[in-house]
Every structure is written in C-alpha cells, then in structure tokens.
Assembly symmetry: C2
Homo-oligomer: 268 residues x 2
C-alpha cells in the first residue's frame, strides 16, 4: 500500500510564499509522498523554497508547474480539497482520518489528488467544486488558522497511516459520502425516481437519441448513474426542468423520431 | 435503533406459494420487523399463509397488497434487492452484513425496502433495476437454492443485529458502494469531467434552460450530482451523446437563448 502514496498528487494552488512550497515538500517527504504539483505559484523555483525543503529538494526538482488547476488534475479520478472551514458550497465533507483511506484506496490503480488553496483564502468556490469531497481538518473553533504546510503535513500523515494500515490487505475502495439530506431537501423516493426515469426516456425519444437501438439498454445504464447519485427531491425537479426545456426544443425542431426498440431483458 | 426496523418494508413480489408469505411474516416478527408489502401475490389472504405465520398473524393482517412494485416502493428512499446470484445487470452488490447497517441508517428518517422476487426466478431485471444495491446472500456454490422465507430470515436477522449494534449510538449513513471500474470501463478523470460539464453548460444554454438566471448556481448543483455519481469514461460518452442530440434539436428549433448570467460566486 505504501507505493500508492506515489500516486497521490499534492496540488498547491496559487501559493504566495515560496517558503511554504518548500515546507510542504518536506512534509510530503517525511510521509513518503513525492508528487507535487504547483498551480500558478507566485514565485518558483526560489531559494527560499529550496531552503525550507531541507533535504526534500528532489521533490521540488520534480515538481510540476502548471497554469491551471485543470491541468494539475489531468488523469486524477478522485480529487479531495482541503478547506480550512465549512464552505457555503454544499459539499460532502470528511475528516482527514475518513478521507485518507478513501483516497488511498482509489490510488490503487489511478492517480488521485489533494488540493490546497492559497494561504489567504484557501480554495475558491470554483476550485472546491472540482473536488469530490471537502476535507476539513478539525481545528479549535477559536483559532482555526492552520498554516498551509501544516495542513499538507496532517493530510500526508493520515495518508501514510492509512497506507500502513492497509499493508498486505486488500482494501476495498470506500464509497464517497452520501449527500446530507435535510427537511428542506429530502431524498427523492422511488416514486419520484420512476417518474423521472419515465420523463427521461420520453425526452430521449423526442430528440431521437435511441435511433432504433433498444431503449432498454441505455435506460439501464442511466438508471445506474442517477440511482448512484442519490438525488434529492429538489435535484429531481431541476433535472426534470431541463428535460422539459429539451422536450420543448424537440417539439419546435419537429424531430422525426425512429421507433425505439422497447424489448426488455430476457427475464422480463 | 430498534424502532427503525419498523421503517424497513419487506416487499415480496409475485409470491407463488402463500405458505411462504406466512413463513416470511414469522421470520420478520422474530426479528422485530412488521411492515410487509405483497406485490401481486398469487393467493392472499390464504389459510396456508395464516397457518405458517404461526403467531405472526398481525403482520399478515396489516400486510399491504398492491398491484405493482412501484406502488410498494412509494416513499422509500433506499431500496435493496435480494438476489440469489450475481446478475447480468451491472449493479453494486453487498453482502447482507454490509447491507443491513446501510439500510438501517437510511431508515432513520425515511422508509426503506428490501425486495424479494418470486420463488422460481427471483427478481426480474426490471425489478432489480429499481434497486440501489443488490444483496447477495452467500451460499454454497454447489447449492445456492435458498428458500424465500429463509432469505427473508437472513436479511431480517442482519437488520436486527445492525439495529442492536447501533442502539444508543449515532450511526452515520454509510454511502452506497462505489461502481466497480474495470480496464474496459475506467473511471472518468477530472479532465473528462470538466469537458463534460462544459458541454452540459453549453447544451443547457442552447435550450435556454438558464433563462437569464445565473448559470453558475445551476451548474454547481449539477456538478454535485454527477461528481457524486462517479462516472466511468463510457458513461461520460453516453451522456455526451445525449447532449449532442439535444444540441442538434436546439439548432433545428432555432431557439433564441437569453444571455445567461455568468457571474460566479463571491470568492472567484
């Protein structure tokens, strides 16, 4: 499992102080990580970074410098964003201890990433929205100002513990956290989901997506996607709003639809 | 936690033998469950069912008889399907021990269901596709023919154990299992997801879904849905195929789109 740490990218976005980059590299090395990506750092390379890296120069030398977060995430199948405090953006949240095994498990076959924002404001909304999960390091409520390199240290430490715990064991990939439903936004029940799937199938027919192919096969796959996503009632409303606009477009377009093959699986 | 067992529906679909319905009711009662739903039973009520219920008559008396599975699932936010063997339908699968805490946790505030198919063929594809997870009871490979009421017993037993384990403890809702990615169908990486979100936003613009509202807010919600779903590369291709057909319809329709408000959140 320790080799998986090589597939965890530490992505630092728009870091202001080069010394923090050096300290982060050092923190990574102590925990056995090595893949450092720098998104538009204010100053890099820099003697200050090298000084703070203190023996982790190799990580700085092999660090990838890119212009955008998207470039740093190419190839990553799971992206966790470290945020200093709860976001206004509704996001699944995990503690570092919960997040580390999940991230490491996903690193079994693919690259994954932990993203850290700037020293001053952390990750922007647009950045955090590229993440599957927001990782909150629990800090004292009265003083939650964690230094960037310290945050990197905590995350790398938890990743290492998770790697050690998993040594020699086949660790299943933990699922992403489920959405937190509220009274305002309860989960969609089976009835709403069926109504949504019916609406989806009609709409796909209206834009001639099936093109004579069996509707059954494609609907089966779409069912998997949307059931997996655990939609709230409000999310279903939004998606059905989209379908309504698509139906309107199809009507205006006067699309001639082929008859979809409605045959079902052999057991039905 | 034991009170949550009252919110777990045992749904028996098209049961052939009324005796099995009685035995299932008995199995339920021993484990503290009481909500029995019968979808188009061949024969019910029946003296044979009452005889086999042996003291669990109250469950039979309050059993709800409905014509379709959809009716039995009204109000259920999580639906697990018991299947005797791996399905050709690609489904997340769990053992009863894994499934029970997940189901029970979801039963904290809403109704949930475990669905059992007919004695002869189990659940049909169309039925299993209404489920979030397929629950496989591990059986001897050489003899996997588990009786319906025994299957109900095993599931109810695991549900009870999970309820007892959770007594007095705040149990977080476990997530659904993640999709099993394969070499044929690897997970979509961040780049593909961003390309998909870009395509989705353009398409929504083309059918005038934004109607002058901020694209940002709606895209943020849609991001949450599709990131949560953990799409494979192939699923992204399917969804983009849909978007391409919708764009074609919008072009043919010559929809005049309002200019979406592209302002972003305050931090960006």
């Amino acid at each position: 499992m320790l080799d998986r740490l090589q597939r965890v990218r530490v992505v630092l976005v728009a870091t202001s102080h080069p010394g923090n980059i050096g300290s982060a590299a050092r923190a990574m090395r102590t925990m056995g990580l090595s893949s450092l990506w720098l998104v538009a750092p204010r100053q890099f390379p820099s003697p200050e970074a090298t000084a703070m890296a203190s023996g982790a120069d190799a990580i700085l030398e092999s660090a990838r410098v890119v212009a955008t977060l998207d470039e740093a995430l190419v190839g990553c199948v799971r992206v966790f964003g470290a945020t200093p405090k709860p976001r206004r953006v509704p996001m699944p949240e995990q503690s570092p201890r919960e997040a580390a095994p999940a991230l490491l498990a996903a690193a079994g076959t693919h690259e994954v990433a932990v993203v850290f924002g700037t020293e001053r404001i952390g990750l922007t909304n647009a950045e955090i929205e590229r993440c599957h999960v927001a990782v909150n390091i629990p800090t004292d409520a009265a003083y939650n100002s964690l230094n960037l390199a310290q945050a990197v240290q905590v995350l790398c430490y938890e990743l290492r513990l998770a790697a050690l715990a998993g040594e020699g064991a086949g660790v299943p990939v933990p699922a992403l956290p489920t959405p937190q439903f509220t009274d305002d936004e309860p989960p969609a029940d089976a009835t709403r989901m069926e109504a949504f799937f019916g609406h989806l199938e009609r709409t796909l027919g209206a834009v001639d997506f099936f093109k004579g192919r069996p509707a059954y096969t494609i609907m089966r796959r779409l069912r998997r996607i949307f059931l997996r996503a655990q939609l709230s009632t409000r999310e279903v409303l939004i998606l059905r709003g989209i379908l309504a606009d698509v139906e309107r477009a199809a009507r205006l377009a006067g699309i001639a639809t082929s008859t979809p093959d409605r045959s079902q699986g052999p057991l039905d």
